[in-house]
Structures are given as C-alpha cells and as structure tokens.
Symmetry: C2
Subunit: 712 residues, 2 copies
C-alpha cells in the first residue's frame, strides 16, 4: 500500500470546495452521495458563505481546516482552478479532483488555464485528477466521489476516458450482481496524473483483482505499457481501445481530444505487455470477470460438454475460431462417458451426453469429472440446459443441480482447469446458477461470450508465462560495435541523416546479422572485381547515392545482369540514366548483389510510434505490404518469445509454410534477424528508422535485398 | 394459404399414435401440452388398449377414426414406423410427424428403416416430418406438438437442425417478450419434407414476418436457395450455418450427419438469395426482430446520437466496421442541433448532445427529429441513457421520456428511416423502453448488437433491391453457339473429357469473351507465321497436349521468347523436353501468346458444389489463391449485380484499385467476363468445370493467360 497515489485515491479526509446547500449543485450532491454511500472518512465542506451543510460544519476556506487533507473535490468552475489549487498547495493538500470542464478539451484559453493550474500544483507537489472528469469511486473508505448510485462492490477496477462507457459497464454489473467494483475512475483530461500512474496504483492495491479499461488514446503510451507489464503478472488488464477505424479515430479526437494512433501498433505492444485487448465493448465485463475467477490454462486444449447437438457445433466453431483446440479425449475418458450415458450421441469431444433419454443434471457432473481428469484437455465449457434443470424438469431435481454446481467448482479447483458454463437459462438467474457462480464458476447466456472468455483466459495465461520467462531486458542496451559507430559517425560528418545502402548493410553485418555479399562498383571498370567477388551469376545492380530517393524511377536499377560485358554496360547505363534524372547527384557507386532466388518477400522495419516510441514491424513484404497489410508490431526491445509470436501472428501463415513451390520460411533464422534488428535499434540513440524490404526468404536462407537506415 | 404443407403444419384434426395414460410417456405429454396450450383443433388419441385419455375418447386404430385426419403425431418407437405409416396412408392422412430417433442418424439398419418408411409414405402421398425431431409448434391453431411450454407468440418462425439451438433462441424470446413465435420447427432427419419445402410454406404464411434458421447442412442446397429467393422479397430469412471451421464441420457431421460443405460457397450463394447469414448465434434473434420491424434503408449512411462521448466512438467503430457510413450532417442540421443543445460536444455525426448540463430526454427527441429530416442520412442509432432517464433523474422526467419514445417511432414511420436504440438500461426493461418497443423501435443492451442489426438491415435492403431489379434469369439458358458446340463435339469424339487450352480459348471467343490473340505452332517452322500473327514481341510458349497435366514441370513452357530464331529454338526445346518427361504424349502443338504486361492476377472458375450445384468463383489468382484465399462464390447463373457484388467482396480491394504501380482493374470489363463465363457454364449441359487462372488485369485490359474446361 505504498503507492504514492494511494491516499489520494482512498482519502481519509476529503474537503469539498464549492460545497453548497442548493440540492441542484454538484457541491451539494457530492456531499450527499459521500454520506449516503457511507464514506468512512471525514467530509470537510468549504464555503465562505455557509456554516453548515447537510449537518456538517462548514469551513470558510481550505486554510481554515485543521489538520491534514488528503483530497479536495473541486466543484467550482474552471476559472477558479488556479486560485483554488494555489490555496490547496499552500495548505499541503495531497491531491485535488477537478470536476469542471472548460479546460484543454474546450478551447485554447482552456488549455492555457489547465497548464497554469498544473504548474501551480507541481510547485506544491499536489497531484491533480482531471479536470473534466465525473470523479472517482473507491471502495476501501467507501469514497463515492463520482455521484453515481447503486455501485455493486467487488474486486474490479475501471479506468476510462469516458464516464459514459464506464456507466454502461456499471449497468452490466448492476444486473449481474456478482462482479462488482473496488474503483471507478474517469480520468478526464489527465492534466497531471495519467493512465499509467492510475494503473500502477491499481496494480499495487491488493483489493483489486482485475482492471477494466476504456482508452481513446495515450499521452504517454510507452509509460503505460511499462506500467502494464508490471501489473499483468499480478492481475488481468482488460481493454477496449478506440481507433480500429478512421471513424473511431475521428470520434475519439472530437470526444476526448485523444490521438488514437495506429491501432495495429497498439494491438501488438499492448499484447506484448500482457494486456487483454478486446474489440467488442460487450466483452469487457464478462472477460474481466473470467480472468479474475479462472485458474490459468496450461494449454489451449479445451473440451465441450452438452446434452444436445447443435450447441456443441456452435461451441466448437466459436472456440476454434478463437484459437482454442478441441482436443480428442482419451479412450479411457470416452469409455467412462459411455458408461455414464450409454446413449450419448458423441463422446470424443465435443461431448453430447444427450441421447434417447431426457437429460439429467448428474450427467453434467459425472461427465465433467471424467473430462477434467483427462490429461488431453485443460479447460471445460459446458453448454446447454445446466442451471435450468429444476426450472425445466421440476423442483425434484434442484438438489442434484446444486450438488453438480458445487462439484464443478470443486473439480475446477482440484484440477486447476477452468470451467465455464453457457446456460440457456442464464437470464433467469436460477438458484443453481447462483450456487455455481458463488462457488467460483462463471456462467454466460451466449456461447460466443463464453468462448471469448475461455480464449482470453488462454491468451492471458500464455502472456503471463511469456512475461515470467523473459529475461530482464537490458534497457541500457549494449552499445553498437565500433565498426558500426564509425560508419554512423562518418555519415553524420558528411552531413547525411540517412545511411547509404552499403552503409546500412555494413552496420547490419557489424552487428552480426547475416548479410548477403555485395560489391560496390565505383565505375564500370570494377565489373571484373565484382564478378570475382560475387561469382559469375545473375546480379542486381543499384545506384548508391544520397541524392537519389527513387532508384527505379531514376533508371538506377538493373536486374539479372550477367558477365563482364553485361555488368560494364549496365553500370554505364545506370550512371547515365541517373545523371539524366537527377543532374548533379552525388553518386557513391553502383551496388552489385546476386539476384535473390525465388522466395517469400518479408518486411522488417523500425520506426518511432508517436505514442509508444520505438517499435519493430514484421510482416509480408513487397506488394503484400500495401495490398493486404499483413504486418505486426512490438515495442522495442523484443525478446525471442516476442519475435516468435510476431511471426506466428501473420494472417497468411501459409505464405511462411511453403505454398505453390515457395520455400518454407526458416522461423529460427527470422527470429535471429528480428533480434539483431531489435539490438541495433536499441543500441544507443543513433538509429531512428530501419527499413529492410524485401527480406527474401529463399530455400538457402534470408537475403536482405534492400536496407535503409535513418539516423536520429 | 394454398401451400401444400399448410394443413399439415396447421392441422385441424390431429391424431396421436401411441397415446398413453402414463404421465412419463411422450404419448401422454404430447396430448397434455396440446390441451394445455389451447389447441383449437381436435385431438384424436389412438391406443388399442385405452378408451379414454385425458378426458378424450380414444380410438383403437387410425382406421377407426371417422372423417379426415390432417396430421398424426407418431409417439411409438422407430421399428413401428412402416406399419404405422402404412395404416395412415390407407386412411388418407395428409402428414405424419415421426418423433422417434433410431433411424438414419443412428445406424445402417435405421437408414434402411427410414427409406422403407419414406417409400410407403410416398406411395400414399403422405408427407413425413422427421423422424428424430422434437416436433413442431404452430400458432394458428395453437398446435403445440413440440411439448415445450411458455412459448411467446408473435411473427417469428424458426426452422432448425437442432432443437437445442431452437430452445436457446426460445429462451431469449421468453426474456425479451416482444418478438414471439408463430412456428417452431425441428426438422429432424428430413427424410421426406426438407428445409426448402418448410421454407416455402413459411414464405406463403402471411402470419409469419421473419424466419430464423439454424442449419448444419443441406440435402438439396440448390432447392433451398431457389426457395429462399422467392421468400426474401417478402420477409427476412436470418441464418446461422455451421461449417465455418473444421471443428464445426466435424461436430455437425457427428450431430445431424450433415455435410456442412464449403462455407465460402455457402456464404456467397446464401447472400445471393437474399439470406442474412450471421456468424454469431447471439445475433440471430435480435437481427430477425430488427429486420421485421425496421423500414428498409435507402443507403448505408447512418447517424449516431448520444448524450455523451465514448459511446459515440464505440458506436462509430462498430457501425463502420460493419460497412455502414457515418455521413456528415448538413450544415442546417448541425445548426439545428446547436440551437437545441448549445453546449453539445459534437454536432456533425456522430452527435454528442451532452455538454455542460445534465442530459435530458427531450434532446434525444429534438435532435433525433433534426437528424432524421437530414437527407444526408438514412437511419439513426441512439446510444446511451435513453430508457433510463426516469430511473436516473426521477419520475419527474418519465412523461417526457414516454413522449420521446412515441416521437421516435413516429419519426421512423414518417421518414421511412430505421431507428434503433442502444440503452445502458435495456436489461431493466423500463416503462419508457416498453413504450418505445411497442411503438415499433427495437432496443438493445449493447452497441455491437445494435450496430449488427442496423448493418444487417442495410444488407437486407440492398439484397431486396438487387433481387427486385434482376431480370428474370433464363433458366433454360441460350444454347452454346455452333462453333463452341462443334469444338466440344470434336473433343468428345476424340474421347477427351477436357478441352485443350486452344479449344477452351476458342469456346470463350465463340461465346463473345474478349480473348487475347494466340497462335498454335505445329512445328518450329511455324515461328514466322506466329510472329506475323502476334507481332515481334516477347511471347509465352506452352505445349498443348491432352497427356501433359503439369506443363511447367514437363518443360512445356518457355517465357519471354523473342524473334524467329528464339521461337524456333523454344519450340524445339519444348517438344524435346515434353517427349522426355511424358514419352509418347499426344502433342497438338505449341501455343504462342504475347507475354502479359505486369498486372493483377485474378482467378475465375466454375465448379459443381455438392450442395448448391454449379457455382462461379472469382478472386485473386496466382499465388494469392492459396496464400490468402481471397475468393468469393455465387450460384450460376449470375446477374450483373451479382458480378459487381462479387468483385466488391474481395477483401484485398486495394489490389483492384491500383497499388504499387499495378494497373487499376477495369471492373466493367471484369463484369463482362464473369457474365460470359456464367453464360457458357449454363448453356446446355456440356461444361462441368472452367478454370481461368490467371486472368491478368493489365493496363490494356484483361488477358486470359490460362484456360481449362472440363466436360460433363
């Protein structure tokens, strides 16, 4: 509980600036809500014109309050903020929550006012929540400073750019009842305290079991993922992030002024930090609950159990589409199921324990036990009537249904394998489902939501294992080798911000990357030497010049050139053509390289994302880059596990596995190259961008066919 | 009401074979349910050992029943079926519903029993429902022959391979209350009456407003889509079809013995027939309700209205991801919204009418009216607090909320533009939401479901327009032109089942397709003639031989050959190489064609789908076919509108729009070619398969670079 924000978020003494006796005013409603919700701390109304508000003695000013104040709730208009914060700072108040809008989200004048207010706060070491927020609710001291009612208590925390989205999730909790809130936090403009600081505080609070977040854009995305990486090993972070579409980006900008950024980048780096990113807002709450309740999955192999067909088909599709594996049960388990329900329609997985007879709750319990003991599967999804047996077949079967509910939870704990239940009767909130949920097994109305919960639990389990296994990354990465440094120094001395291709290749080589041989021809007379170096094989020739951006368009490229005469002629051609297109271009020579064999064109790049800083891109290169945009991202530096995941996330996996006579891509070599690029990009502060496109995966290995590097 | 199945599905006289006084028996429960649910017809129990069952006089046999019988409900075991159906046939009964399992779904003996039973029924013109079904419920005569209780009545019909999936949807209706059922029909083994016949009956029944279907596989998919095409102009068909994944295909086979077939084919042909195919089972019920309630959308341009940010971002993303357009509102509308809510945070679309003040229900009504009058948008989605104002702000605002609910429905009708409401308070079923729904506006708990409903409504509106506009397709298509017929006849006479490439090209040309010039060289001496025909340009040379399947692998292809000497040498090479690889191959010559310019490789194919018959495939060709599987299907024949839709459904649209210097594909020319292929495939019964791959879209037009045709 040593988080610096802890006392601000869970204040024991809370002053209300702008406290009021007018029931229409927020300064009245705020106090009423605090009292009504049983705030365990002390409320200190501040109003120079009142002596008592809602039965509490009122102070004329913050200075007049005796003793320490943890948090002030500022209900006065935006323009009063500098003066109020100045007074609070003098008093030594720890934090202030600015409710008012009219700051940077509204106008340029508001932006100035916000900056001014923040500057004052910083002078005093006072931390600001908001402005432009609906406030916060925290359960420890029952501090309801958000003025919403009926907040079910529980282990969830929510952190949001939007109070309305938070209210929507809250409404879900009010219906569900089981998975309530410890914290609700509407961040507002994040003028001072930002997402990542709140997140770290939530990570440090052992009362919080799961974090739900709705985020339109980060001010400091790098700090957020660093914070998240420390939180996700302890508790899940489930996120919905705006910006998948141009329309979403536009709406986010108009709503919170957020720059949603590149969603593909966010997808990669948030996953890397162990965050569960969801693309449906209706999954936020159930997935957070599931990740909080369920034990980790040891693998992605799951079983489906029902008492009828149809639903097993729907479930099998929903699970496998989300990357789970419907693994066959062992012969022994199948035999056990057959003995329990001799008429069972399917016993191998999915299991349809329905048959000639009416379904009975005990089948679920007995078959569930058999399945959970099977080493072939690591989780179980039940789908169908469970929770509705008593309703459907009469109270006579209620006791059995309760017993099975308790048994399922006990089996989950005993085997350490998640169990989730989809019940057609979920919305009727039957007593059996109540028993089930109280024993720790979540239930859902629909198969797709249940499947998403199980899939997200599998993803989260893998992410936790990956993060736990990753060697501590040396943030102060190794310096570049001297050879690379001299190349960079030379380029800078020559006033160049971009390395020549020959230099970029040399840097890669100096750092240990496997770069194909090249030869730089200064003139056509070097043809013999080039052939001597590279062998008498078809060559690709490219002009090397800091002044030629588009080599092909300037006639600076010739392919499949062969023999001394051919090379000579091509070099003469290239130099003439470039001179014609870019008169006076400074030309360092013509680079010759063997023509790459037929292979798979890949792209590897490094760039600086405005939100997340340096990121690595990997994907299909060449024409695929623009045509199908099959690329993935990670924040730098990466681990080997990150590299492997990146390769596995390419949608067109078939392109990597050898299709239509293309070679199978050597994933291990690719991991090596990605690690080299990561190391180079993180060594020192010299390299801003790297673009290797295409890297051709041939039968003989990876060939870097083009390399660009931009310096910082 | 002239559908031949109408009396069977809505029987007025219903006999129960195997009627029983034992409350455990289906023959007792069936009668009890019929009576309890107020069956308006006459129940006729049949049991030789009883005189009265549940107060009804019992008959010893079906022959003993006086007068006509519409339907018999057969509750006796499978083995009795032939005898029972024989007796019913003799009696002149119209239809029989066989409840028992143990037929073709269970064993080979069961399959024989089923065939035997069907043969008897056919002899008497008696139609069979099932066997292996839970039965049917139809509302007109209150005929509950499915033995489920609490069935809310309404305009929906459900047709399913799985009673359990149907029960799950029924449970949703029981909670929702507003959109109940006219018909519930579990088809069982479809031994006689099949999906398409039920569907046609549902189309003919004016009490039915929407059809929900869960289908694992078709026995006669072509008949189904033909039936569907006649139904969808009258009422929506919403479908969930198994088979998206290998796991789903496997589960469907184990459950209903269905062959789920190629899902990509099903997606295309079901859409073509105007069916709304959904990929989440939790969307079936809400989308069916929406398509039933909402007026058609004139375009895909929709508006979003809320009183808070965040949710407008989520809504904008959800709608645009589903292909709807968040179109800017007119200046005049924006001005009106500004006047209604001067503090509104966003007025252009999405509209966030929240601002400095607390939200008020009347804003929804006034802003909604302004938006629906705007010609720039054709539908409105409200998202946020509506339905919860009274709950949130007190009963004082209830009347206004009711008024706005009525106003929104009135606006929807007046402008003929759909309105849907997402309410955070949906699950509380507030009085305001009740007023709203009763007035015809659907409401939803979650944004994604609301967005899916609006998107499906837009899709359905477009499909109805497309089907209405399509010229009646000449099913008995024009015969092939004589030139094509003689080519085919010649090939058949030569004992060949596949056309040579030259013949396939000639058939295409004879049918009016724009085929690039070729020249067939019989020997190397034809080089001069080939160059005279095709011009002195780089040529592609390919062997033409019925015995050479893999031309490249046999050395039968040479690319970029130029000049007389070059062509001569290449022909000699090819002939020698083929002879070496396929000794004795019958060689018709070497085909020369100009090398295609750089372009986009496409594929066009015709094949026979086991479920849907002849289908047309279009997509990205060459390496893309296997690497990214970006292809779409339609049943043959297609209309021009179908062809345009096919081209528009390719995921990598960028490949068609000119990327990385590739030419922009001429969609009009592509439509022409697809129509030609459709015509050729449908003319007569000669051609079983066509494979044009690649068709290269160059800057100068489409070049068919390879053509194969297989005869029937």
């Amino acid at each position: 509980m040593s988080n610096p924000l802890d006392r601000i978020l869970n204040p024991r003494r809370l002053a209300v600036i702008g406290a009021s006796n007018d029931p229409e005013k927020r300064g009245y409603r705020a106090i009423r809500t605090l009292l009504a919700d049983g705030y365990r701390g002390e409320v200190l109304p501040i109003n120079p014109k009142a002596t008592e508000i809602l039965g509490l003695p009122c102070f004329a000013s913050i200075d007049a309050v005796p003793g320490e104040v943890d948090l002030v709730l500022v209900c006065t208009p935006a323009r009063t903020a500098p003066e109020v914060i100045e007074a609070c700072g003098r008093k030594g108040v720890k934090g202030a929550l600015l409710l008012a809008g009219g700051f940077s989200e509204a106008s340029e004048a508001g932006r100035v006012l916000e900056e001014q207010t923040v500057a004052i706060a910083r002078r005093y070491g006072l931390r600001l929540i908001g402005p432009n927020t609906n406030g916060i609710f925290t359960a420890r001291e029952a501090c309801n400073a958000i003025a919403w009612f009926d907040i079910p208590r529980g282990p969830a925390a929510m952190l949001a750019n939007s109070a309305n989205v938070m209210l929507s999730v809250l409404a879900e909790a009010q219906q569900h009842q089981y998975f309530g809130f410890n914290t609700l936090l509407s961040v507002g403009n994040q003028s001072d305290i930002q997402f990542h600081e709140y997140l770290t505080a939530m990570g440090d609070d052992s009362d919080i079991g799961a974090v739900i977040s709705y985020i339109e854009g980060f001010k400091d995305g790098r700090a957020f993922i660093d914070a998240a990486r420390a939180v996700t090993p302890k508790k899940p972070i489930v996120m919905f992030k705006a910006g998948r579409t141009a329309e979403g980006v536009r709406a986010a900008r108009s709503h919170s002024g957020s720059l949603a950024g590149d969603y593909a980048v966010a997808t990669g780096v948030l996953k890397q930090a162990g965050i569960t990113l969801l693309e449906r807002s209706d999954c936020l709450y159930p997935v957070a609950e599931a990740l909080h309740l369920l034990p980790p999955l040891r693998s992605r192999r799951v079983a489906v159990l029902s008492e009828g067909g149809g639903v097993i088909t729907v479930a099998a599709e929903a699970l496998s589409e989300r990357g789970l594996i419907i693994a066959p049960l062992s012969e022994a388990t199948q035999q056990r199921i057959h003995e329990i329900v001799p008429n069972a329609s399917a016993i191998s997985n999915p299991v349809d324990a329905g048959g000639g007879t009416d379904p009975r709750a005990e089948y679920y319990g007995l078959c569930g036990a058999a399945i959970l003991e099977d080493p072939n599967v690591d989780a179980l999804m039940l789908t169908g009537f469970f929770g509705g047996y008593a309703r459907r077949y009469g109270e006579g079967v209620a006791e059995m249904e309760f017993k099975v509910a308790r048994d399922l939870a006990e089996l989950m704990r005993k085997h350490g394998k998640p169990v989730v239940v989809q019940s057609h009767y979920a919305q009727f909130r039957t007593p059996a489902l109540d028993v089930l949920r109280k024993a720790g097994v979540p239930f859902y109305r629909h198969i797709e939501i249940a499947a998403q919960c199980l899939a997200s639990a599998a993803d989260y389990s893998e992410a936790k294992r990956r993060i736990a296994a990753s060697h501590p990354v040396a943030e102060a990465a190794a310096a570049l080798p001297p050879a690379a440094v001299s190349l960079i120094t030379a380029a800078r001395s020559a006033g160049r911000n971009a390395l020549l291709e020959t230099e970029a290749r040399a840097v890669l080589a100096a750092c240990g990357a496997n770069v194909a041989p090249i030869h730089l021809l200064r003139s056509s007379d070097d043809a013999v030497a080039a052939i001597a170096t590279l062998g008498d094989q078809p060559l690709a020739l490219k002009v090397v010049s800091q002044d030629v951006l588009h080599k092909s368009d300037s006639g600076g490229v010739r392919l499949a050139v062969r023999g001394e005469a051919g090379v000579r002629a091509a070099v003469v051609d290239i130099l003439a053509s470039v001179e014609q297109h870019v008169p006076g271009a400074r030309i360092d020579g013509v680079l010759a390289a063997p023509m790459a064999a037929r292979g798979v064109e890949l792209i590897i790049g490094v760039s600086r994302d405005p939100q997340f800083g340096p990121v690595l891109m990997f994907g299909l290169g060449g024409i695929f880059v623009e045509a199908i945009e099959d690329v993935v991202f990670r924040a730098l530096p990466i681990t080997r596990a990150d590299a492997l995941e990146m390769i596995g996330e390419i949608r067109a996996q078939k392109m990597l596995d050898g299709v239509r006579g293309l070679p199978r891509v050597d994933r291990e070599a690719l991991v090596e190259l990605l690690m080299h690029v990561s190391t180079i990009a993180c060594a020192g502060d010299d390299i801003a961008e790297i673009d290797l496109n295409p890297v051709i995966a041939t039968a003989d290995g990876l060939v870097i066919a083009d390399a660009r590097m931009i310096l910082t």
